[in-house]
């Protein structure tokens, strides 16, 4: 009888071995060693991060820092040069239904012949399955999602008849309709009116209350302390990653943004003022 030698596995740490040493099995989104390049020009370099569970997380950084690319790479929409993505400890492919993506508003043609309700109903397609037509039930679920963003009375409108902010809310409603645990949103607050911003933030907070995790690419540093719990400062690599109070320091901001600092120092000052008020 021949003896086959099998390499011994440490019986105590099978899960860790599967995940790779850096991955926390509980993180909604865990990114390890991610490098993305367009035409040999790196956009993201060795990005490592764990997104905390049940928090409102923002990714901030200057233009061209790779914020949108980070979301797209996590979702597998752009090819990665290297790196591993885990969603709640599994691959993105296994967890697709748990991840809702809100693309940038400019990424689609808003002249497309489709109503707001039909766009939101796309969020239910995954549950519906292949080749099944949308029925009344999915439309009702879509209407509930539209109502959550305050757009129920706009359901029948063709999407080109909506304002920019309303279009953004339709995109958000489509993600809500999917009933996911992790939300990845690309600039949902870019060039929207004040009413929309308020409505969106309210929805994000409700999602947090429900224990879901929301990751938002954001451009307005001034509002970061008010809106988010956790910030990831990104400029090709992760400059800082942690609770907003810890991460939003002038030094970290300077590292992220280089010279362009006038607004930034203002924002961190605001933060400092706020924490003085909260912890005198």
């Amino acid at each position: 009888m021949e003896l086959v030698l099998v390499p011994q596995r440490d019986p105590e740490q099978p899960a860790k071995h599967q995940l790779g040493p850096e991955h926390s099995p509980h993180s909604p989104l865990s990114i390890h060693d991610l490098t993305v390049a367009y035409d040999r020009r790196p956009v993201l370099w060795d990005v490592d991060l764990d997104v905390p569970s049940g928090k409102l997380v923002t990714i901030v950084g200057p233009n061209g820092a790779g914020k949108s690319t980070l979301l797209k790479a996590a979702l597998g929409l752009v090819p990665k040069a290297s790196g591993r993505i885990r969603v709640f400890g599994k691959t993105m492919k296994q967890q697709r239904s748990q991840v809702a993506y809100v693309p940038q508003r400019e990424s689609v043609d808003w002249d497309f012949p489709i109503s707001a309700l039909d766009v939101v109903a796309m969020g239910r397609y995954g549950v519906l399955g292949w080749c099944r037509p949308v029925r009344r039930r999915q439309k009702e679920e879509a209407l509930v999602a539209l109502d959550r963003v305050g757009m129920a009375d706009m359901a029948a409108r063709q999407i080109s008849q909506l304002s920019g902010g309303q279009q953004q809310r339709v995109f958000l409603a489509r993600a809500l309709a999917q009933d996911a645990q992790l939300f990845l949103m690309d600039e949902p607050l870019a060039s929207v009116d004040a009413a929309t911003e308020e409505a969106i933030i309210e929805v994000l907070r409700a999602l947090r209350t429900e224990g879901r995790t929301v990751v938002v690419v954001h451009h307005d540093l001034q509002t970061v302390p008010d809106y988010f719990d956790h910030a990831i400062l990104l400029n090709m690599r992760v400059v800082a990653n942690g609770p907003v109070e810890e991460v939003f320091t002038p030094e970290a901001l300077r590292q992220t943004y280089g010279g362009q600092l006038t607004i930034l120092s203002e924002a961190s000052e605001r933060l400092a003022r706020r924490s003085r008020v909260e912890h005198p």
């Binding site: 929409l77 993506y101 063709q158």
Partner: protein, 448 residues
């Protein structure tokens, strides 16, 4: 007399075609009808996916496929003109062209339209060369191969029509089955990919269907005009509807109707080529829709005109209100009114005339006018909206008061009741009251 006879025969011929009295016409008409329906419905997705030019490349690229298929069949000792054999060759060449386009797009930094143009012209050039070589070949009867370039619907045999019919039904069934998936692909590809839909496979499906329709169309309308049957019906339908289902079905109907009428006309009038006539019928529908369609030029122009007229009337009413407000007199002279805004005497006279017709102004005598009671009510509302909006901008949008007048001008005319109510709430204005203007009122009103 001559004319009457000619008219009668023309009508008789059309009637013969209409009632399908000729066995030949029956097959041609049924064949092109199926083709029109299929290409219209596929075309809707193609246009919405912004791939119109790709279809043109595919149709031009079918030519070398036809030539190669012919040579292979001659080489195998077959007659060389089995229609199915030629069409299979065309289909393979069309897909090959598509693959080359994708390859160029992925591996080089060439722009999409350049890649498409290169593939289109190179494949077509190769095809033409092959055709002239074939015509010098001793074996096989190559006559008629060039009819694929401009199409020859009249030569359609019952078998051809049957083939077109069956394939068209398959195409439309496939579209119906994957309607939802293709819709997502066309609307928001990156979201579909993020959700895990196989975007690439869906794209192949759509391209495969387009190539299939194209191959059917080259026989009828020719490969040069095949693109028309894909793009024009869809563009026509898009001028009418804002719903995907309606656009797809409408596009199919436009395609089907054009093909049917075109075939009728060419059967009626001797020596008229079917393919180009179909395209022209389709184009006429498109131009008609361009003006009359719900999203066409005419309704848009009418809507714009009615808005700008309303804005003009509101400007006059507001100017009247402001003059009365500062002078405490009911009479308004045209001169004062003229000084309020930068309008010419003639423009003002026209607008005032329209206001009188609408019953908001009345002429006292000569150059003196007054607001009617209805006019006063309207003017009050207009001024109120204007000032509410100005106040909103001043208090809530950090705009200097001197810049406000313009912005308020632009937006007050489209304020709806809900918005006015929320402005009132926001500014704590009580309903009905006209607030004071936040800036000095410009023009002759104060000086009078």
């Amino acid at each position: 007399m001559m004319l009457a006879t000619a008219g009668a025969t023309w009508w008789e011929a059309f009637e013969r075609a209409l009632l399908l009295r000729d066995a030949n016409t029956v097959w041609v008409v049924l064949g092109v009808l199926a083709l029109g329906l299929a290409s219209g419905s596929v075309g809707a997705f193609l246009v919405l996916r912004r791939r119109a030019l790709t279809a043109d490349a595919i149709s031009h690229a079918t030519l070398p496929g036809i030539a190669v298929a012919f040579m292979v069949m001659v080489g195998m000792g077959l007659a060389g003109k089995s229609m199915i054999g030629l069409l299979v060759g065309a289909y393979i060449a069309g897909l090959l062209a598509m693959a080359v386009i994708v390859l160029i797009q992925r591996t080089t930094r060439l722009k999409d339209d350049a890649a498409i143009g290169i593939v289109l012209s190179v494949f077509f050039g190769v095809g033409i060369c092959m055709l002239s070589l074939i015509q010098q070949m001793p074996a096989g009867n190559a006559a008629g191969l060039e009819s694929f370039i401009f199409g020859k619907a009249a030569a359609m045999l019952p078998g051809d029509a049957l083939l077109i019919g069956i394939v068209s039904i398959i195409i439309m069934l496939t579209l119906a089955i994957f309607f939802k998936e293709l819709g997502v692909l066309c609307f928001d590809e990156s979201w579909a990919a993020a959700r895990g839909w196989p975007v690439l496979a869906l794209d192949f499906l759509l391209t495969g269907l387009v190539a299939l329709v194209t191959v059917l169309a080259i026989q009828t309308v020719g490969l040069v005009l095949a693109i028309a049957l894909l793009i024009i019906p869809a563009s026509t339908a898009l001028l009418w509807s804002r719903r995907l289902v309606v656009v797809v079905i409408g596009s199919a109907l436009v395609g089907g109707f054009s093909a049917w009428l075109g075939a009728m006309l060419s059967a009626t009038i001797p020596k008229l080529p079917t393919g180009p006539i179909i395209v022209l019928v389709c184009a006429s529908l498109f131009f008609l829709s361009l003006f009359l369609g719900r999203r066409g030029v005419l309704p848009r122009w009418l809507g714009k005109r009615s808005l700008s007229r309303r804005v003009d009337r509101q400007h006059v009413l507001r100017a009247c209100w402001e003059i009365i407000e500062s002078s405490d007199e009911e009479d308004i002279s045209m001169g004062d009114l003229l000084a309020k805004r930068s309008w010419s005497e003639r423009e003002l006279a026209t607008v005032v005339e329209r206001c009188m017709r609408a019953g908001t102004l009345q002429r006292v005598d000569g150059d003196i006018i007054r607001l009617t009671s209805e006019g006063k009510e309207r003017a009050r509302r207009v001024v109120r909206n204007h000032r509410l909006w100005e106040a909103y901008l001043v208090h809530h949008a950090d705009i200097a008061p001197s810049h406000v007048d313009r912005d308020a001008d632009a937006i007050e005319h489209i304020l709806d009741e809900d918005l006015v109510k929320s402005l009132e709430q926001l500014l704590g204005a009580s309903a009905g009251e006209v607030p004071r203007s936040p800036h000095a009122i410009n023009g002759g009103g104060g000086a009078a």
